[in-house]
Each structure stands twice: as structure tokens, then as C-alpha cells.
């Protein structure tokens, strides 16, 4: 009851009366509401500018007619031309080829790591939400730790783990196991599982458990209940989890650096590698193309979601 009274529309904190600006109570309310509106707008637009200005600059400089990325020299479509010529094979510039190869590696790693992490993460979320077994609470807590562990710790610890594991396997079985796509993907899956599980759990928490109980009552077994009732309900969570995992994996540098091997240069590693010579606007052009592609993906997924919720 006390709570309700506090949140009522006419109750003000006694401290506000100490502000001496407006004359009476009515004007003061109007003034504060007006100021709040201006403040909200300023925060919203300021935030948008803060977020988008660097990206707009990146796009603008992708048309810069100079190898420098920070000084405008004139307009050119040359950097996009390089990329397209390389893709269609009319002109194979070595640096462009390396860059596109790195993009391919990045996409491969993030798609595969995203899918594996989504499957495992979803199973973990289901187990934690539906299971009743000792140690469940502990597991639940442990799930959040990878979200806050610094990348560098994860990268180094994984690299050490692989070093010991490879030493053991190679001595025991005489194999030549080494760092490569396998180790990068395992590393990415390791940090992605928690993100997927957290997103899917949030979705599971909003699901009405009676639906599953009803399915059981009507004679469905566990398998049927999962695929026909639970899965469609949590699908948006699973897709969101995969997208998150995919994105995190795509721009990861630290874990990749410590666990990469021969022939596995990803885009983030490649871009850092250009620091010795110079980062050219070709990187801007590529980033712009990736921005366009991801915007299209987001628009499609938003469209699908609104279709989904209409039904």
C-alpha cells in the first residue's frame, strides 16, 4: 500500500520544494516537464550522433582519392572498384586478395562458431530452466562469468590449454595436431555459449510453462513437445543468440590472435597487420559494404519478426 502511494501522480518528494526557480507549483511542474522533454531529445539525438558520426566518416572516407584515411583529397570509386574487380577476377591485386581471403576466413569462423555455440547454448539454457538436479544454481552462476572475463584472459588460457593438450595428444598418438581453424572455432564457441544461453534463458523465462504441461497432458512425448511447442516459442531468442554469437565472433581479435594457425588470418588480424605500412580506404570500402550487408540483414529480420508477431 505504501508503495502505491509513493508512485501516485500527485506525490512529490519534499526535496523538490527547495528548488527556487519556478514561482508556483503548477508552473514548476510545466517547467520541469518541458525541460525533461528537451533533455530527452538532446540525449536521444546526441546519442545517435555519437554513435553514427564515426560510421558516417568511415563511409565518406571510403570514397577518398588518397591512400590516407584521415585527409580528404577528392572523390573516387577506386577502392570499391578494387574489391569488385578482385571478386569477379578481372584484376587480382595481392593486398585486395589477401583482404578478401581474410573476410572469407572470418565469415567461415563466425558462422560455424555461431551455429555450434547456439546449439550448445540453447541446450544449456533449457537444462538450467527445466532441469532439477544438484549444482544447478552453481552452474547458473558460472554461466555469467565468461561474460565478464577479459578477452585476454580467455585467449591466453585457451592457448595454454591447447598447447598442453596438443603436447599430450601428439606424444600419445603420434599425431601432428596444431593451431588452426579448429582452435579458433573452439575458442569462439567457448566465449559465445554464455551469450547465447543468457539470451535464450530470457526468452524461456517469458514462456508460459502451462503450454508444455498441456502438450504432455494431450499425450505428446518430450521430443514432440520440444519441437512443436517449446522450439517455436523460443526461436526468436535462438536467432538473436546466433546473431549475437556471429557478431562477437566476427570482430574478435584477442582470442583469435592467441589461437590462430597457418592460413587462418581473419579480417581483424589483417586490419591490425596493415598498421606497419598504412591502412588504406580499401578497408573503409570493405567496412561500408559489410555495414550495408548487415543493415539489409537487420531490416529482413525486423520484417520477419513483425510478420511473426502479427500471426
Amino acid at each position: 500500500m505504501a508503495n502505491k502511494a509513493l508512485t501516485g501522480p500527485f506525490v512529490r518528494s519534499p526535496h523538490t520544494s527547495e528548488i527556487s526557480l519556478p514561482i508556483n507549483r503548477h508552473d514548476r511542474g510545466r517547467f520541469l516537464r518541458g525541460a525533461a522533454q528537451v533533455g530527452y531529445k538532446a540525449i536521444a539525438y546526441g546519442g545517435m550522433i555519437f554513435l553514427w558520426l564515426p560510421i558516417v566518416l568511415l563511409v565518406v572516407f571510403s570514397f577518398n582519392d588518397s591512400r590516407a584515411v584521415n585527409q580528404w583529397q577528392g572523390f573516387t570509386g577506386q577502392w570499391y572498384g578494387n574489391i569488385f574487380n578482385n571478386i569477379i577476377g578481372t584484376e587480382a591485386r595481392f593486398s585486395t586478395e589477401l583482404m578478401l581471403h581474410a573476410v572469407g576466413n572470418s565469415l567461415f569462423v563466425s558462422v560455424v562458431a555461431g551455429i555450434i555455440a547456439t546449439i550448445i547454448g540453447t541446450m544449456v539454457a533449457l537444462s538450467l530452466a527445466r532441469g532439477h538436479y544438484p549444482g544447478r544454481r552453481l552452474l547458473d552462476g558460472l554461466l555469467y562469468i565468461p561474460l565478464v572475463i577479459p578477452d585476454i584472459t580467455q585467449g591466453v588460457s585457451l592457448a595454454m590449454f591447447f598447447m598442453i593438450a596438443f603436447g599430450f595428444i601428439n606424444n600419445l598418438l603420434g599425431l601432428g595436431a596444431n593451431y588452426g581453424f579448429g582452435t579458433i572455432i573452439v575458442g569462439h564457441v567457448a566465449f559465445n555459449i554464455s551469450y547465447v544461453a543468457v539470451v535464450v534463458r530470457a526468452r524461456l523465462a517469458h514462456m508460459n510453462p502451462r503450454l508444455e504441461e498441456a502438450a504432455y497432458d494431450l499425450g505428446a512425448n518430450g521430443w514432440q513437445t520440444f519441437w512443436r511447442i517449446t522450439f517455436p516459442q523460443i526461436l526468436p531468442g535462438i536467432i538473436a543468440g546466433w546473431l549475437l554469437a556471429f557478431t562477437l565472433s566476427l570482430d574478435d581479435y584477442v582470442v583469435t590472435f592467441f589461437n590462430n594457425g597457418v592460413g587462418t588470418t581473419t579480417l581483424s588480424i589483417f586490419v591490425y597487420g596493415m598498421l606497419k605500412t598504412s591502412v588504406t580506404p580499401e578497408i573503409n570500402a570493405l567496412s561500408t559494404l559489410m555495414l550495408v550487408a548487415s543493415t539489409v540483414l537487420v531490416v529482413i529480420s525486423l520484417g520477419m519478426q513483425s510478420q511473426f508477431s502479427k500471426r
Binding site: A68, F94, F257, L275
Partner: protein, 360 residues
Amino acid sequence: MKKALFAVLVAALLVSTAAAQSIEDIAWTCPEGYEGQTLNVYNWATYIGEDTVANFEELCGVTVTYDVFESNEAVIARLRQGNPGYDITFPNEYAVSIMIRDGLLETINKDNIPNFANVAERWRGYDFDPENEYGMPYLWGTTGVAVDLTSVEEPITSWMQVFELDGRVSWIDDTRTMLSLALLMLGYDPNSMDADEIAQGVDFLLEHGDNVVSIADDDGDALLARGEVDIALEYSGDIYQLMLDCECEDYAYIIPEEGSIVDMTFMVVPVGAPNLALAEVFMDYILDPVVSAQIVNDTFYATPNQAAIDSGLIPEELVNNTALFPSEESLENLYFLADVTDVEQVYNDAWDEILIFIGG
């Protein structure tokens, strides 16, 4: 008029570069028996000629995997952890000395690299590797003074003119480079391990920091281009790039008479390399005059390969540009940065002090 002349020069440069890039021009032949093998290269991202790798693959019938790293520290860290299968990598001289000390490098057999004979006498033999048992020199550059000729009228010949300039100067945010210059000015060894001498170096820089407007993190060339500074201390490659981009004659690159710092990347073979023999073949190929010339034309770094310079395949504009190939006299006073691991903390603390008092 000047601009037109420059355009002609650039056009000539482009034509001659294009002409030099044909695989038929390469007289080098690959030794028998490597067809179908793989070479795993670990290099800086765009630090090789456009066709260097493709031509090697064609001449030898091999496959090259090309991975990239972003710093010497990254290579050392990666290889300390265990070589994942790289056959050849390209660190700087101080990193090579650390890697030799830590046993991270294989020795190479110079008999398999006859083109080592092309390397200028000056660039053979180093304190950390007197007989070139571990590495072959690849490309080099210097640190020097980039001058905006439109605002600095007096010809710069000495470091003291830079340190006492009535104008705006930017330094490089590089601990060792800047302190080595100070040590050089004081008449000490640029690689001094003496804490007292380093402290004097700090005092020298603090006394001469009044005209410093920026301690630039590798963008002194951009500051110069935007007119924010009159003199930038910078790496030669960046300044050459600036001269090329602006299509003007407003800038000069100078190595003052007291001398300066030179850096060299080496081709080395990490321990545990799966294909040491092919790595040696690759080194021999790189040291071919035509191949080396192509690399210079594409990367704008100087080559230690005298035969490549003498071959005439590097355009005159490059060979005669002191930003790329300094004059013989200034070569006499160039110093390599050596590994100073034991007093590294002293250097880092000294530089922090300068950053605090002079600012970035």
C-alpha cells in the same frame, strides 16, 4: 609547370613499375624438386610486391599461405607459444636479436642462398648475427626529419635546428627512437644501458621540448599534411608516401648530420618450421635483383640488395629520393636499435616522464 612535371614523373614511374612486374623478366630459376610443396609465410600485411608471391608459386609450382601480424611483439609472443607451422617470418632487427637469444630461430644454410651475394657489404653481418646464420636482410627504412618547406625556410642539417626551431614540431611516440636520438645528441651510445645516461637523455628532451605540439602515434605525416606542424619526426616510408600523395614539392625528408635510427626487417626461419629448405629457396628468390626491385617499387621501402639498385629496375625518382635511399654520408651515421631488455623499465619510465611533462 612543376605540377605538370611531377605528373609526367608519376606517369613514368607507373609505366616503369608496370613494365618491371612481368614474370618473364625474372631470370631466377627455381631449384628442382619442390613442386606441390607448401610454404607458410608470416609477414606484415602489405609488405611485399603485388606479384611476388604469385610469381614464386608459378616459378616453383608451390602453394604459399600468407598470414599477417601487426607488431614484432606479436610475432615473438606467437612463436614463444609454439610455432604453429610457419616457415618464414619478417621481424625487425631488435626482435631478431631477442628471438636468437631465446632460441626461437633455425639457422639457415647460406650455400642454398647464392643471391646473398647481391646484398650490399654494408648490410651484411650484425652484432646479434655476425655471419647472417639466422636471417637475410629484407627491407629497411630510417627515422628522420620531415620538413614543410613552405613554412621552414632555413635548410635543416642538424638535430639542434629541429630541437631549437621557432615553430611547431611533432615527435614520434616511440620510447626507444626518441631517447636514442637524445643519447646520440649527448654523445652517448644510442643503445645505452646506463641509467644515468638515460636520465640525461630525458633532461635533454625536456629542455628541448618547448616547440613540441604533438607526440604523434605514427601520424606525424598527417599532421604535416594538414599544416598542424612545420616539422615532424617520422619514419621515412610514411613521408615518402606523403610526398607521393600530395603531388607537390612542399616536403623534404632529412637525416641530420649527427645521424639517426635505421630499422631493418629480416627474413628468418622460426624453430620447428615444416619446410626450411623451401624457406631458403624463397629467400634466394626474394634476393634476386628483379624481385627485390619489384618489392621496392610496390612498398616504397629501401632494399639492402645492391644488385637490385644497380639493375636500373627501380625508377630514378625512387633511387634518388633521400627519403627512401639516404645519401652515402648519412648512411655512415645510422644506428640500429639493439635489444635492451635488462633496462627496458628504465626506458619506459623515462619516456613516461617525457609524455607527462611534454604531453601528447
